[in-house]
């Protein structure tokens, strides 16, 4: 078999990969602690990321397009053609200090937090970061804006009763404070391909944050297919950005905004029902649609299944469920 010996670099350490050998086999031979299972590209347990070069095409077979774009690849399928710098999934991450520039309430329990950075912060709308307090307490939050907006990140933070991190952000953080922010993560974002494709966005509560970023990004990149955003909560007071989203729907013919309320009191202009049920009832067939789901984990899992059964392909279903850390 043709091939050359190449160097694999992981966190300052260098390993050799023999001609014809896969990255996984080379790392296992070198006793690197890497998770794996099937060794044939099916289970995705050994997914890692190339930090510098484009991985060989064959090593990205079966991955979601957003993962491919970030140079993720399967170590078991990768026979490298050149030296590579590899990042393992559990590798410690790099934090950047940012300064709080906006700190105001979006509704009775959701805080709008905008953090500014000295240099450009690279990310894709819809990704999330970890925020870290000086004592090391860390939580993940979705980014709500798009990278075009001048070195800032926007977050929607819901106050969780007894939630140490959210209460700290709500009660103690003020404009001018600094906060540590990790590199962006997650593969739930918009790619400007197949712009005629229908986009279905469904979110509960602050699940609107990543969806707002994805929506802004898709519209800015000239997405021409229909875009439906279903945002739900139990009560009217827990929705937010209603007027802005209605305004956006008036400006863009292909964008439709459907705010849903599952509680008893439903003012005019709002749809009564659970957001996932309302969204599903609105479509008979989701074949060829791209779906973004954010918010309550049960809602997200159930919608993954239901949108798949309605014809959406799994590779077109994107989700980042919130996992609420127990208090």
């Amino acid at each position: 078999m043709k091939g050359v010996m190449v160097k694999l670099t992981i966190e300052e350490k260098t390993y050799s990969c023999q001609p014809g050998e896969t990255v996984l086999d080379a790392l296992l031979r070198e006793h690197v602690n890497i998770s794996y299972a099937c060794k044939k590209g099916t289970c995705h347990s050994c997914m890692v990321r190339s930090a510098d070069t484009l991985p060989p095409e064959a090593a990205q077979a079966g991955l979601k397009n957003t993962l491919k774009k970030q140079n993720h690849f399967l170590a078991c399928l990768c026979r490298p053609e050149q030296d590579m710098i590899i990042k393992l999934p559990d590798q410690s991450e790099f934090y950047t200090e940012g300064t709080v520039v906006v700190n105001e309430m979006l509704n009775r329990n959701t805080l709008l937090l905008v953090i500014a950075f000295e240099d450009a912060f690279e990310f894709s709308a819809g990704q999330f970061v970890n925020l870290q307090r000086a004592d090391g307490l860390t939580r993940s939050y979705s980014i709500a804006n798009t990278p075009q907006e001048s070195n800032t990140l926007e977050f929607h933070i819901r106050r969780l009763t007894g939630g140490r991190f959210s209460e700290w952000l709500h009660d103690e953080i003020t404009v001018g404070d600094t906060i540590a922010v990790s590199e962006p993560r997650g593969h739930c974002f918009y790619l400007p391909e197949r712009s005629e494709q229908g986009l279905l966005l469904v979110g509960t509560g602050t699940g609107l944050a990543p969806l707002a970023g994805i929506l802004t990004d898709a519209l800015a990149q000239g997405h021409s297919g229909p875009i439906y955003l279903f945002h739900g909560s139990r009560e009217f007071d827990d929705l937010y950005r209603i007027d802005e989203l209605r305004q956006l729907a008036r400006q863009h013919q292909n964008f439709h905004y459907i705010p849903c309320l599952s509680g008893k009191h439903v003012p005019e202009g709002f749809t009564h029902g659970r957001v996932n049920e309302v969204a599903l009832a609105s479509f008979t067939d989701l074949k060829d649609w791209r779906v973004f789901l954010c918010g309550h984990p049960e809602m997200v899992n159930q919608m993954k299944k239901m949108t798949f059964l309605k014809g959406a392909s799994m590779k077109d279903i994107y989700a980042d469920a919130f996992f609420v850390t127990p208090v």
């Binding site: 099937c38 060794k39 099916t42 289970c43 995705h44 299944k305 798949f308 392909s313 279903i317």
Partner: protein, 133 residues
């Protein structure tokens, strides 16, 4: 040897996996198949749908195996993986239902009947391991 003979030999030596279309064929079949399974009240309780991505990966492994493609599952892996389902009551009738959906999926994809028969025979050969017999 004549060219015709050579061609015949080449066709004969190709695996079912190659003749049926390799990974592309697996990808085409998996989603069709899994929709049928999830919609089938006889068997959908055996398919844990809490992680759809993992389930799709498992179905992909199943089709790769049924097509005689590269896999390193042993009879023992099959037994261990399905043991919890056997405890839940997995029996021949459920295996038959899965075979039904496998056939229907391949017919829908217009796979020639002789290749479907080959794939069905490979899947059938795992029956005893899957059912823990």
């Amino acid at each position: 040897m004549t060219d015709t003979q050579n061609n015949q030999e080449a066709t004969m030596s190709k695996t079912l996996y190659e003749r049926i279309g390799g990974e592309a064929a697996v990808n085409a079949a998996v989603e069709l198949f899994y929709r049928k399974v999830l919609n089938d009240y006889r068997i959908n309780r055996f398919f844990d749908d809490s992680d759809m991505d993992k389930q799709i990966a498992k179905q992909k492994a199943f089709f790769t195996m049924a097509f005689g493609g590269p896999n390193n599952y042993t009879g023992r892996d099959m037994r261990n993986a399905h043991a919890p389902l056997v405890k839940m009551g997995l029996d021949n009738s459920h295996f038959d239902a899965v075979m039904e959906h496998l056939g229907a999926t391949l017919v829908e994809l217009k796979v020639p009947a002789d290749l479907i028969a080959e794939a069905a025979a490979i899947a059938e050969s795992a029956r005893n391991d899957v059912l823990g017999k």
